[in-house]
């Protein structure tokens, strides 16, 4: 037995990579859902931008220029499914059906296994929505003569490089939050509560409803430090050039801190919830 379980070090990651690949390809099949999401997001983008433009008329020195705010909105609509809106639906099903006990039998770390699944799920849903949205909001609007209403190019090469690093951390951070929602689902045996309350918090504190810099100044420090800013506000502000230099590095450091902190917390809580798991049979 001992010999059979001794896996060479180089093969240790193999099952996780296989899960990542399989789930990515599976979710990528849902093209109709992606098309519907795209249409809805484009609509919301247009409405939000016109509302913001209405507010900006005659405004004196807002902390985010209108062009930056428009870029912020398009990034938010394009990357909407990057955010942790609900528990992994397959995990919810497993919890309801009781199949979740099989997860204990696999020779894998359940947290890391579910984490990789969440990453693949998110990534496969983001790509088919984000790419057409950015093509529409960027070059298409610009060529049609509506460049002022579109997604501007990144504020510079440095901004783009920092944005790429930051959005990578966003993906990791989002998966840690999906895992926390999974933990609530495992502990409460139902996905209803967690799935219905998570969106309200994510919506407000990530900056999707209103870009965080537009909130009153007294709230800025808190909004910058809380974990949800790393889901969209920090990368978006880096992209449009509102957060640069030391500020950008601070933002990325905050994101990295929350990834580690929430992963440690989530892994401990998942193991506790799994230890208390009761199977009702049937």
């Amino acid at each position: 037995m001992e010999a059979a379980l001794a896996v060479p070090k180089s093969r240790l990651m193999a099952p996780y990579l296989a899960v990542l690949r399989a789930r990515f390809l599976l979710v990528l099949q849902y093209r109709a859902a992606a098309a519907a999401g795209f249409a809805t997001q484009a609509w919301f983008g247009v409405v939000s931008i016109m509302v913001l433009a209405g507010f900006y008329h005659g405004a004196a020195h807002p902390p985010l220029s209108l062009a930056q705010a428009i870029g912020y909105v398009w990034l938010g609509q394009g990357l909407l499914v990057l955010l942790p809106w609900n528990a992994d639906p397959e995990v919810s099903e497993m919890v309801v059906s009781g199949a979740v006990v099989y997860e204990r039998l696999r020779p894998l770390d359940t947290y890391f296994y579910w984490y990789v699944r969440a990453l693949a799920w998110t990534l496969a849903r983001v790509l088919p929505r984000a790419v057409p949205m950015f093509v529409l909001a960027g070059p298409v609007l610009s060529l049609a003569g509506f460049g002022a209403w579109g997604l501007p190019p990144p504020a510079g090469f440095a901004a783009f490089a920092l944005f790429a690093a930051s959005i990578g951390l966003t993906l990791l951070l989002s998966a840690t939050m999906t895992l926390l929602i999974n933990v609530v689902v495992v502990a409460s045996q139902t996905s209803r509560g967690a799935n219905s309350l998570a969106p309200a918090i994510v919506n407000l504190f990530s900056g999707l409803i209103v870009p965080l810099p537009l909130f009153p100044a007294w709230a800025h420090l808190f909004l910058f430090l809380q974990p949800f800013a790393g889901l969209s506000d920090i990368p978006f502000r880096i992209y449009v050039g509102q957060l640069s230099g030391a500020g950008a590095f601070a933002g990325i450091a905050i994101q990295a801190f929350w990834v580690v902190a929430l992963a440690v917390l989530g892994r401990r809580r998942l193991n506790q919830a799994m230890d208390r798991l009761r199977v009702q049979g049937g």
């Binding site: 859902a33 409405v47 405004a59 209103v210 909130f215 009153p216």
Partner: protein, 267 residues
Amino acid sequence: MNGLALYGRYTAASIRGQMQYPGSFLLLSTAQFANSVISFIGVWALFARFGRIDGWSLGEVALFYGLIDIAFAVADAISRGFDVFGPQFVKTGNFDRLLLRPRTTALQLLGHELRLTGIGRMAQAVLVLVIAAHLVKVGWGPRELLLAGSAICGGAALFLGLLVLQATLAFWTVESLEVANALTYGGVTAGEYPLDIYARWFRQFLTFVVPIGCVSYYPVLAILGRRDPWGAPAWFTEVSPAVGFLFLGASLWVWRFGVRHYASTGS
């Protein structure tokens, strides 16, 4: 038994059913309340930053916001049967059973469920209306109350019509098309602000194609005693909510066309 009495029985059964799970009902209503309050916090933050939107104050926008949200909450509560029509009736073949009963399909689908959790959004919308009434000086007489009431009814009819159209599409596509969410949820969002902040093409779309402006913008103009800067006649602002009912009528006509073309999936 007439249609109304039958609908009463349907809803009574639905309410009893949902009240078997009071915990679930409380949780989902609270969640809906929280979700919609969060959106209004966003509106408040923008007003705190900018003061006005194209000359409109927070109280005035709250009036648009509260009325359209109540209308949507009503439509959302009664239209559950149309909302889940694709997956639960066409895909499963359950629609065949509805066709066998000696009642209209629209009535049976309306009676499918009265979703009580809409109370969450409703509570938020009423709260917003109270804020609006507090902030804006409106002489609330019978005329103003009638206008507000007809805006809500017309709005509910309009959103119900949109959901009927979404369900009609399922006769051909089987699955529900989420694209309709852009018009329902997106329509509420658009109607939460006065129409005149939008670009011309969007204003026309919201007046002539999906007439959300007719159930929020124009009646609120009449309540506030304002003139439409784009020249809609004063009498139109008073009767505009009726357009919501015309839209619902047209949707039901399209629905009947869809029913005639229904072919069972055979499952």
